[in-house]
């Protein structure tokens, strides 16, 4: 019986805390720079901002060795299947950070060429506004994601949380029916 199948309870919550701590302290981002946001993403890795203080200085070019996808830049319709493929190639557990307004919602490019939010293609864990966001904003978003990872459940709890999230997503108003700014 592996760790993932262990029954939930006191023991697993302790393991969850430890696993969450270890996971958040060693995120391996996959490079997915698509536009100008990628420049700020690179700047966040340089010595002035120094992402390696949080254990993630190595931007992997290979998705199978990575567990965080930073989608930096506008996703065109033609790039969307590539984003999905790279996401599918990453190993579980994996997270997606949507960096910049273009990746998050299409931003100012409200037209036929740009996917209106990368969450149409992959599930996004944290959105980061800004055009482009400054490196501090990226670090702030990553730290918020660290907090999410620390709190994330494991094993049976993870399956239940995934089921609850799916049920909530099915209940929610679909994007095309939304009014106002959310459309």
């Amino acid at each position: 019986m592996g760790l993932e199948e262990a029954p939930s309870g006191f023991l697993l919550t302790t393991v969850e805390d430890i696993a969450g701590y270890l996971r958040k302290a060693s995120l391996w981002p996959v490079t997915f720079g698509l536009a100008c946001c990628a420049i700020e993403m690179m700047a966040a890795g340089t010595s002035r901002f120094d992402l390696s203080r949080f254990g993630m200085e190595v931007f992997r070019a290979s998705p199978r060795q990575a567990d965080l996808m930073i989608v930096a830049g506008r996703v065109s319709q033609k790039m969307a299947p590539v984003v999905r493929q790279v996401y599918d190639q990453m190993s579980e557990p994996k997270w997606v950070l949507s960096m910049g307004v273009c990746a998050s919602s299409g931003g100012m490019f409200n037209n036929y060429a740009i996917v209106q939010g990368v969450d149409h293609v992959v599930p996004v864990d944290i959105y980061l506004p800004g055009c482009p966001p400054r490196p501090e904003m990226l670090i702030n978003a990553i730290l918020a994601l660290h907090h999410q990872i620390q709190e994330s459940p494991l094993g049976v709890n993870r399956v239940e949380a995934a089921k609850a999230a799916e049920a909530a997503a099915l209940e929610a108003t679909p994007t095309f029916e939304m009014k106002g700014l959310l459309r």
């Binding site: 120094d50 307004v101 998050s104 919602s105 959105y127 506004p129 055009c131 904003m137 730290l143 918020a144």
Partner: protein
């Protein structure tokens, strides 16, 4: 090749000691950098403030007596190149007993900025005729949901500083919106305090405003808003349906 009589290197060649140390010469750079000052900013622990007039998140300002500056004219929404702003105006005449949310005829009843569209260009700031909308230096905006990234009027409005009287209340007596624009209204007046005492006796801003009227406290100075607390920022319960659209 180098021994051929036609070739003479332009750079001076190294002597025997230089050639012997060549494999480790690169470490000279490493060693030298150890004695240079560190350039790393310890961001989340020590925040370096951005440049002045940095285009951070927006703030809706207030007049010194607590009335809002936004008049719901939608010029910011028209100026926005990314269609990130949604404004609905309301008539001050529709408020009961001569109350005003802003000086003049209209106020911003619904005000939303979608930070997943906003590109922080500042065209909305240039468009605003009453300087109601300005930008702050706050840039920590990340959030887990799309709906939570739509900031609404309570999130954007500047906080009431000490001595300001919470809107709605009537305009200062004998003034029009012109006096407000000119900055001639510097504090709440006795009539405004009396009106609020009659209509909302348990208003938390009432005591501080009464002190200003009595001259026991200095007139209020506008204050920057604080960061939206993380509890409301997750905004899972927010939806477009619940915002009065």
């Amino acid at each position: 090749m180098t021994d051929s009589p036609e070739y003479k290197p332009l750079r001076p060649t190294k002597g025997p000691i230089g050639r012997a140390l060549a494999p480790v010469a690169g470490f000279g750079v490493t060693l030298g950098s150890m004695f240079r000052p560190t350039v790393t900013e310890q961001y989340p622990f020590e925040k370096v403030p951005p440049q002045q007039r940095y285009h951070g998140r927006h703030q809706l300002n207030r007049y010194p007596d607590g009335l809002e500056k936004c008049i719901g004219c939608e010029l910011c929404a028209w100026a926005c190149p990314a269609d990130a702003i949604y404004v609905e105006g309301g008539d001050n005449a529709d408020l009961p007993d001569g109350a005003h949310m802003s000086p003049g005829e209209r106020y911003g009843r619904v005000y939303q900025i979608n930070y997943l569209r906003c590109i922080f260009c500042g065209l909305c700031i240039e468009a605003c005729p009453t300087r109601a909308l300005t930008m702050t230096e706050d840039y920590e905006l990340a959030g887990p949901t799309r709906a939570g990234m739509i900031y609404e009027k309570p999130d954007l409005l500047a906080p009431l500083s000490d001595g300001m009287l919470a809107a709605p209340h009537p305009m200062a007596e004998g003034t029009t919106d012109t006096e407000y624009y000119r900055g001639e209204v510097t504090a709440p007046t006795a009539e405004q305090v009396a009106w609020v005492r009659e209509h909302r006796p348990d208003d938390p801003t009432l005591d501080a405003a009464a002190k200003v009227v009595d001259g026991q406290a200095p007139p209020p100075t506008p204050r920057r808003h604080q960061l939206r607390p993380p509890a409301t920022r997750s905004g899972a319960a927010r939806s477009a349906a619940g915002t009065g659209q």
